[in-house]
């Protein structure tokens, strides 16, 4: 047994080089020497771990993304992106595949929750003014991730090939055609033709399972990397270095082992009492948050089934034909004017979001909730968010057949919803 044991020891040591750490130095070392942990700092500020600072929204978004990738890959084993098989695959998931309903429900709920979590995460960062220098680019990456999340939802929406899917995508891609100059060509490219058909289904499938998740993964990696390099969470008292020569800019917050072993360097000059080791404090919270996220997704998946309407009928839309809820504000806007509501207003919102960190160069009120100095920016942001929510509520509950105004308590039948 002894030789076998020593071989096992060798293999184990080659993978887990430092073993389970027993000292603080070892715990710090573990964070830097493992590929899977090295995005974490060796130490974090106590502040960072306080739930009320962030509500863990970014991490919840990441957890949901992980759940979506796993359930998505499992769904890929069941789903065939063809006009003949797509809807049948949904029925198979429902009636044939063991835990197929749970799988699809979980994927759908995680997708809905991810849209909410990402929007709330953005709201948190905005309301704290945390997009300001030096975090401008990470804010831009974050806005891109929001758009990718929405586009992932949109492409996933077509795949069941039921009535809702078909007409939501017909309407959605027609909005794209209103974009100036390239609108029609873009729609043709997106659909792979002039109407939603087999080429469209295949294109959306590839976008949904390969291109967009890969892009999202890359951007998430950049997002987390920059989070570290830009000094973690924004704080009111942080120093923003303004060295003109980029090469000379020292890393603002990065703990090498030297810093821990040799005591404080100028970069870690603040009170050590403010900081705790990431192992175990940060890791434990991350694991708990993941389990919590998964529990919520599973609970919703068990309690509420993802809807499946009848097979797509390319001739007649359902009446009313409603987009998924996160696009209902857009649909309400396009019901007034497709160009203004579908292109101009969303375009202005996205450009404004992207430009915010470059227009707002002030420092006051960074890193605190609802800072007095930021009342104007915060008010505008909340107003826009509330307007979008109001439009969503109107489109959900007050729109009946032919998109006419109905009162929710009247007895007009609405399909889907």
């Amino acid at each position: 047994m002894t030789p076998l044991r020593s071989v096992w020891q060798m293999v184990y040591r080659s993978v887990f080089r430092v073993g389970l750490p027993k000292t603080d130095l070892g715990r710090a070392q573990a964070m830097v020497s493992s590929f899977f942990l090295h995005l974490h700092p060796a130490k974090v500020r106590r502040d960072t771990l306080r739930p009320r600072r962030t509500f863990g929204l970014g991490l919840i978004s990441l957890n949901l993304f992980i759940i979506l990738v796993v359930t998505g890959i499992l769904l890929m084993f069941q789903y065939v992106p063809s006009l003949e098989r797509a809807y049948e695959s949904m029925k198979d998931l429902q009636f044939v595949v063991t835990a197929g309903v749970l799988l699809r429900n979980a994927h759908r709920w995680a997708a809905h929750l991810m849209v909410i979590a990402v929007v709330l995460h953005m709201a948190r960062v905005f309301l704290m003014g945390a997009y300001r220098k030096p975090r401008e680019i990470n804010w831009v990456v974050g806005v891109s991730l929001l758009l990718t999340t929405l586009f992932l939802s949109f492409t996933g929406y077509l795949l069941p090939w039921d009535q809702l899917a078909f007409w939501a995508i017909t309407v959605g891609t027609s909005i794209a055609a209103y974009a100036p100059v390239i609108g029609n060509q873009f729609r043709y490219l997106l659909l792979g033709g002039t109407v939603v058909g087999q080429p469209t289904l295949l294109r959306f499938y590839v976008l949904h399972v390969a291109l967009l998740p890969a892009a999202a993964l890359l951007m998430v990696a950049v997002h987390l990397y920059r989070l570290r390099k830009d000094g973690g969470l924004a704080r009111p008292d942080e120093e923003v270095l303004t060295v003109e020569d980029g090469d000379q800019l020292p890393p603002e917050k990065s703990y090498g082992l030297m810093a821990l072993a040799e005591g404080s360097t100028p970069l870690v000059g603040h009170d050590p009492e403010e900081e705790v080791l990431s192992w175990p404090h940060l890791l434990l919270r991350e694991i708990l948050l993941f389990v919590g996220t998964l529990a919520v997704v599973l609970a919703l998946a068990i309690l509420s089934d993802a809807p499946l309407e009848e097979l797509a009928n390319p001739v007649h839309p359902p009446n009313p034909a409603k987009a998924p809820w996160y696009f209902l504000s857009l649909q309400e806007l396009v019901s007034y004017s497709a160009f203004i509501g579908g292109v101009v207003i969303p375009g202005i919102l996205v450009v404004a979001l992207l430009l915010v960190p470059f227009l707002d160069r002030k420092r006051a009120g960074t890193g605190v909730w609802f800072a007095k100095e930021r009342w104007l920016a915060n008010t505008v942001f909340i107003a826009v968010l509330l307007a979008l929510i109001a439009l969503t509520v109107v489109a959900t509950y007050f729109r009946g057949p032919d998109w006419s105004w109905v009162w929710p308590w009247s007895s007009v039948l609405t399909s889907g919803g």
Partner: protein, 182 residues
Amino acid sequence: MSNERLPVIGAGAPSESGKGLRRRDFILLVSAWIGTLGSLLAVAAAGLRGLVPNLLDEPNIRYRVGKPEDYPVGSIAFLDEVRVFLFRRGDSFRAMSGVCTHLGCTVNRDDVAEGGFRCPCHGSVFDDGGRVLEGPAPRPLPSYAVTMARDGRLSVDRARVVSPDRYLVLEEPFDQTDGEPS
């Protein structure tokens, strides 16, 4: 090993005046970059061009429908595959798109009101000539040229948009069921 002799790509020797690149190095550098980026772009363009379909598996632009006698006088038929309404008035025919110009839903014949078409998606209303009466639709529903093909069937040419007043008038008795060789 000394790397003094290792040439650094793109870093030419300074010009005689002591600053900037020599002209020869500048030209080399610029053409090298153009060549590199240009060829990469060309490869990318060639790879992506295939995504723009050259052939569509969709109904013909000039869509062959039934014979005139298949459509009763005064009827409005709906051609499912191309989503076109075919009107018959007396011995005259016209065709009009049933695809809402707003966002592509199929409009429904409004039987409750007096004629006209209504879009279920965002509530646009059109009259029988396709003109927008209300709602967000930016353009009228286009009318298409109807022609008679050689085999005696009607054909809707969706590439030819015509005025809603244009009818295909069949002057000769077109009921050829008796005259056809069988």
